[in-house]
Structure formats: C-alpha cells, structure tokens
C-alpha cells in the first residue's frame, strides 16, 4: 500500500492506494496519452461504449479505443462535469436527460480536453455498440452530427425472456460480418485477421479468470476488497481499452496476488484513508456510483465499517462470474454472447435473481440501491427490485438517489442520513435474529 500526501490545499490529506490502483492509474494515463498523441502518431480512433465494448475486434484494426462514458467519469472525478453538463444544457439539451451524454457534449463544446489536460482526438469511427442502454443510440447520433464520421450500428437484442436465442446470435454475427468488420476495414485500411482476433480473445479469457477470482474474494470474511468503490478501479482496464492485451493479463495477475495476500493476512479493503477498520456491514449494491463526490460517498461507507461485497455496476462491462469467458474457438459468436450478457441487457427478473443470489453467496447483510437520475436503464424498476430482493432474502434493503456526473443531484446529508438509518435497520434485524435464536 502506498500513501500519498496531497500537495496542495489545506488541510493536507493523505490518500492511500493499493499498488494495483497505482498500476491501474498508470495504465489509464498511458492510454489517454496515446489518444492525445493520435494526431501525431497517425493512430486512428474508434469511439465506443463500455457495455458491448469490442476491444479485441477494435485492436485487430490497430484502432485506439475511446470510451465517452469513461471520459465523463473522469470529468466527474475531476469535478469538471458540472460545468460540462451546464454547457450542454445551454446549447439546448434537456435537463431531464442522461448526464453522461451532456458531460460528453459539454466537454466537446469546451475543447474536448481529456483527463490528462490534453485535447482528445476526433474519432475516425463511432462504433455504436447498442447494448443494454437506449440512450447509446441517441448519444452517437448526436456525436455523429458533430464529427460527421462513419458510424456503425451493432444492435444487441435485449434478453427480455432471460435467454440468448440462436436468432439473436445469428443476427449479431451477421452484423459483425457484413457491417462492422467491413466498415472497420475501410476506416482503418487494415484487413481483418480472424486469427489475430482469436489471440486477443485468448488473452481476454485469461484476464477474465483473474478478475472473477478477485471479485469473488469478497466472499471471504472480512472481505479483502470493496467490490463497488474499489471494484471500479478493478474493472477499469478490462472494461476499457485493455481487454485482450498482455497489460490486462499482467494487471489482473498482479491484482489477484495482491488480493490473495490480503485474504491470507485477514485484511479488509484499502480505502483512501488506509486499511478499513473492522468490517461491520456487508452490502450488495445495485446501480452506478456518484462520481462527482466519489471519495466523500465512499467515506460514508467505510467510516461506518460497511463494505460492499458484490455490485451490479461492476458487471456492466461484462458478466463473468457465471462462467462466460471470451472463447477464441468461436470468435464472432463469443463477441455476440458477450454483448448479450452484460448486466444492463438482462431482464429485470434476471437482475433480481443475480442480486438475491449475491446476498446469499456473499453472506451480505442486505441490498443497497443507489438510484441514478440519469440512467433509466438501471433505474426504471429498481423499487420493485428492492422489494423483491428483500422478500426473497429476508434481508433489509435501502434506497438512495444521486447522479453519475451531475453534482446538482448529490445531497451528502440526505444520503448520509439514509445510510445511517439503514445500518441501524441492519442492526435491528440482527438483534431480532439473535433474540429469536
């Protein structure tokens, strides 16, 4: 564990980070520099989305992967998104719609400066991987209007009946073969090599194995990780531009070793304030986090001894814990299956099953939903999810509200009050169980 002293500002704060977090940060920084250098290096850029991210395929064409959601997250963490959102609203975007979109549009309007302080390049192609979120389609139509570049629609059908059918796979493979690949060939000038794709997929699978071991380490008591706040760091490389690379294999191997060491030492997660104290509450969290007040939000949990042992948000870029791995033996089909299986493309009953099972498997005290104003894909139906999970598990659930990157929708006092009440509710429930025993 490394401890940093914040150089500016009073009072000076120390921020603790796992070595894996530092490594992750370095990887992300390198990637942003590659993006910023693209005009000089001549690298071409494909913008796409985290759910349904086809990084292995993108790499086959030597394209750099740029993810607007991740850019919005970075803007949120750096407290720039508020101004970007306002800028987008000023130019005609409704206050009602997704703030990821508005942060991205606002960032573009203000010069498209990335988290490294340098301009992000215009995309050469927009790969509209339309998976699990309706807004994606409008988002890339809006970007296409600005950039006027090639745009490829890859439509992933929704798993409304909780199953992947042959028709869905065939449809997606056909789109890949007849639309996505030929366009990427044309944009990049690189001929598609399916064996190269297989190589990348093989690497993805290795990293995915280690990611699952890391996330499932939270079944241990105390949990060595926080699978929500810490989990966001862990998923960064594999949900972003690194899936299918040696860097990802190395990172997840390193991370796994670090986590296993913490298990062996009986340690809890590392928080920004150092090792977490005694684990008092084990939670499953549904929904994305707030990024504008990320650290403050996290602190509300670890100050109370609450650790998140499983979360749905760490499954938006791929659900691996039920056995799915990218399969090099069926390269296009596996990409289709991957897109179909991401969390937000799963039906509501499937999501309820997942969350209820997490509570059992991870021996959690209950479910907490962070409902995001911006994200209908996650949020619509969450109150029913809450009641149903509570009913099935007998564990208490709670509901808080915030937003991804719009600081106007983060009310610290309100959230803190609700969390404190929730922790009391868990205590009461425990007391009730103890009394009954």
């Amino acid at each position: 564990m490394t401890v940093f002293v914040t150089p500016k500002g009073a009072p000076a704060k120390t921020v603790a980070k796992d070595d894996s977090m530092l490594k992750q940060k370095e990887m992300m920084a390198t990637h942003y520099d590659r993006l910023s250098n693209a005009p000089e290096t001549g690298d071409k850029v494909a913008s796409t989305f985290v759910p349904g991210n086809l990084n292995e395929l993108i790499m086959c064409f030597g394209l750099l992967n740029n993810l607007p959601e991740v850019n919005a997250i970075q803007s949120g963490l750096r407290r720039q998104s508020g101004a970007y959102v306002l800028e987008a609203e000023k130019i005609g975007h409704s206050e009602d719609v997704c703030t990821y979109v508005k942060s991205d549009i606002g960032m573009m309007a203000k010069g498209n400066i990335g988290p490294n302080g340098r301009r992000l390049p215009d995309p050469d192609v927009l790969l509209l991987s339309y998976t699990g979120c309706f807004t994606f389609m409008k988002w890339f139509e809006l970007l296409r209007e600005q950039y006027k570049c090639e745009t490829i629609m890859l439509h992933t059908p929704y798993m409304g009946d909780g199953k992947i059918t042959k028709n869905m796979i065939d449809y997606m493979v056909k789109q890949l073969k007849e639309e996505v690949i030929p366009t990427l060939e044309r944009v990049s000038g690189v001929k598609f090599d399916i064996d190269l794709l297989r190589e990348y997929l093989k690497k993805s699978s290795k990293a995915e194995d280690d990611l699952v071991r890391v996330l499932q380490a939270a079944k241990t008591k105390p949990s060595p990780i926080d699978a929500y706040f810490g989990g966001i760091y862990y998923i960064g490389p594999i949900f972003g531009a690194f899936r299918g690379t040696e860097d990802a294999i190395e990172y997840y191997k390193f991370l796994r070793a670090e986590v296993e060491e913490r298990v062996a030492e009986g340690k809890g997660p590392v928080t920004p304030d150092g090792d977490m104290g005694k684990e008092k509450y084990r939670l499953v969290v549904e929904g994305p986090p707030n990024y504008t007040n990320f650290r403050q939000f996290w602190k509300m949990f670890y100050d109370e001894g609450a650790v998140v042992v499983a979360s749905s948000y760490t499954k938006v870029g791929g659900v691996y814990d039920f056995g799915f791995r990218h399969d090099p033996d069926k390269p296009l089909e596996t990409l289709a299956e991957y897109c179909l299986g991401v969390y937000t493309n799963r039906s509501l009953p499937m999501r309820i099953d997942m969350l209820a099972n997490y509570i059992d498997e991870y021996q959690a005290d209950g479910l907490l939903i962070n409902s995001i104003k911006s994200c209908n894909s996650f949020s619509a139906g969450q109150l029913l999810i809450m009641r149903e999970v509570e009913k099935r598990t007998g564990k208490p659930a709670a509901f808080i509200e915030s937003d991804l990157v719009d600081p106007r929708y983060f009310s610290a006092a309100n959230i803190k009050n609700r969390l404190e009440s929730y922790f009391q509710m868990i205590e009461q429930k425990r007391a009730g169980v103890d009394a009954a025993a």
Binding site: H93, V97, V101, F134, L142, E145, G160, Q175, E179, L348
Partner: protein
Amino acid sequence: MATSVNGSAIASVVARAQALFDDLSFTSARQWKAASADRKVVGYLPIYVPRELIHAAGMLPLGIVGGGDQLEVIHGDAYYQSYICRIPRSTIELGVSGRLDFVDGMLFPSICDVIRNLSGMWKMMFPKVYIRYFDVPQNYKDEIGGTYYTHELEELLRELAGLRGKPITDDELRHSIAVYNENRRLVRDLYTYRAQRPWQTPAAEVYLMMRAGLVLPVEEHSALLRDYLEAAANAERPRRDNCRIVLTGVFCEQPPLNLIKSLELAGCYVVDDDLLLVTRWLTADVPVEGDPLENLARAFLHHSESTAAKYEPDLAEKGQHLVRAVRRTDAEGVIFACPSFCDPALLDRPMLQHVLKAADIPYIAFKYAENSGQMQPIREQAGTFADSIKLWSGT
C-alpha cells in the same frame, strides 16, 4: 346535405370516440371478450407492434397508452422515482387496480429503457399473463435485420398460437394484413384530409378517432373512420385564421386531450403529428400475396415511420422526415411537445431542431406529462408562436 356541428352526425361519431377515450375500464374490450368464451385480448404499449398477428389469432389487440389525466395514480408512484416519466406508473396503476384484469397477454415494444424494464416488472407482477418484450431490428437490410425480424415474428406467432390453442395459418395472416391495410388507408385518408382542411377536422377529434383504434376491433374502427370522414366532409365549420403546425415528440406518453385542444385554441391547426403511430406505422400497403411474415418484415424495414426510437443510418436523412412532413402538409412550423423525462424524444430534439433550422422552419418546444393540468403557459407559448408565424413568416 351539409349539417351543423351541434346535433349532427359528426357529434355522435365524436361522442362515441370520446366515450371510449374516457373509459378507463376498457368496457368495450371487455364486452368484446365476453361475447365468446374463446376470445382473448392482447395489450400492447407504444410505439409499434404488428397487430396483424394478434388479429390473425382471433384476438383483440388493445393499445395501452397510460392512464391520462383522469386516472389517479396511487400505487404506480410507489414503483418509480420522481425522475421517471409518467406512462409506466399510470400503466402499472391500470394493472394493479384491476382495470387490465381481462387482458391475456401484453407486448412491450422496443422503444426505451423504461418500457423495456416495465416488461420485466409486468412478468414479476402479473405472472399469469403472457408477456413478451417485442424487439425490432435497428438494422434495415433484408438479409440481416429482415431475417432477424422475421424469426422474431415467427416466435411471436408461435406463442400467440399457443395462447389460443391452435396454429395460426398463413391465410389467416393474409386476411388480417388486408384488414389492416384497409384501416391504414383510412387513417392516411383522414390525415390527408385534415392537412387539406384542418378546420373541418379539429386535432382533438382526429386524436379521438385514432384512440378509438386502440380499443375497438379493427373492422369497427375502420367503419368509425369512414363515418367520421363522411360526417366531417359534410359539416359546416368555421375556418379560422390559424397557422399550420406539425406536432412532434408525442409518440409515447400521450398529452392530455386539453393540450391538443389548447394548441388549436391558441391559433395552431395541427396538420400532422406523431401521436399513436401504431395506427399508421407502416406507410404503404403490405402485400397480401406471398409469405405474410416476410411481407410484414419488409414493410417494417422499408416502409415505416421515422421516430426517435429508430436508428437512422444515414446522417443526411436524419430529421428529414420532419421536413418532409412540413412540406407535404404545407405547415408553417413545428411544435416539439415532449413528455418530461422522455429520453428518446428529448435526446432527439436538438438534432431535429438543427435540421429544421437549416431548412428555415420555425419551431418551439415545451414539455408535458400525461396529467399536466395547467394549459395556460402552453396556450401562451403556442399563441405567441402562431402570432409570430402570421406576422413575420415570409417577410
């Protein structure tokens, strides 16, 4: 012989449609079902489902577009956060309050994340009802999106056949396609007539005629449309010095009827709109000969309306449907009326506005909810828009 509005043929047709609109218990659909023990009703939400399949199964397709401004939502609000639009909460209210207890199946089309998730909620809440999330392709090539969609239609057809207990034949489907072709022709006739003589066919009346098509058997609805067209043509109605506008953004959650009336009272004749698109989603007749499902699939891919829930592959074509609607109907402006928190309509709006600006077509925009009660701001905004068009357009 020309008739006056009061006590006229038109009044009785409109009164019938108004009664259907007001009836939140869906009495006519209940009566239809009660007439025979083997009858079934399949509900559907906006924007589009192939009603021909439901009809071919001998069932009644029942359009559900929320509860409007007359339904008190008590239970529905407990299922949604304040930042979710209103249609799912009032739809749940309809379900939980037993108003849809006679419905045997529900189709939730691919339109947005809220309706998508509502399909799963309905499964949890009404486990005895047949429920299907009805996905449609966003790829419009016959061999890609067309093949996928044809298979989806086959699956829906199989499930409907299961629901009725015997297979649905191609001839039954062909018959249903013909019946709906006829209905769509009448709808198009009405829209064309209104664009020509909007003072004869007020927007609120046209809307009521379309709404009737959501609850009546298609054959009865076609008869109603014929009656209305004939009565409207024979009515003597005053022609006002209104401007002509296209109303857009109203394809899912419905505006209150008073809002539609307010636009005309404020000086805007509605000459085209995207209300209740299911009634005219397919823009040309579907061939009756040949494979019926393939024909429906091709019609969907190549002859269907443009709307925010559909991907537009061609940047140059984005929003042009609206420009064409303005030109076709000789409209003078566009009113964007979008439901609050409606991602598809609100995210699409800036792009459409850019297209209109480039085409030099004036527009205004506001939001509403299905239970909006205060029309004065909308009347003022629409009135100012109408005045500005009358005073300054073409100068």
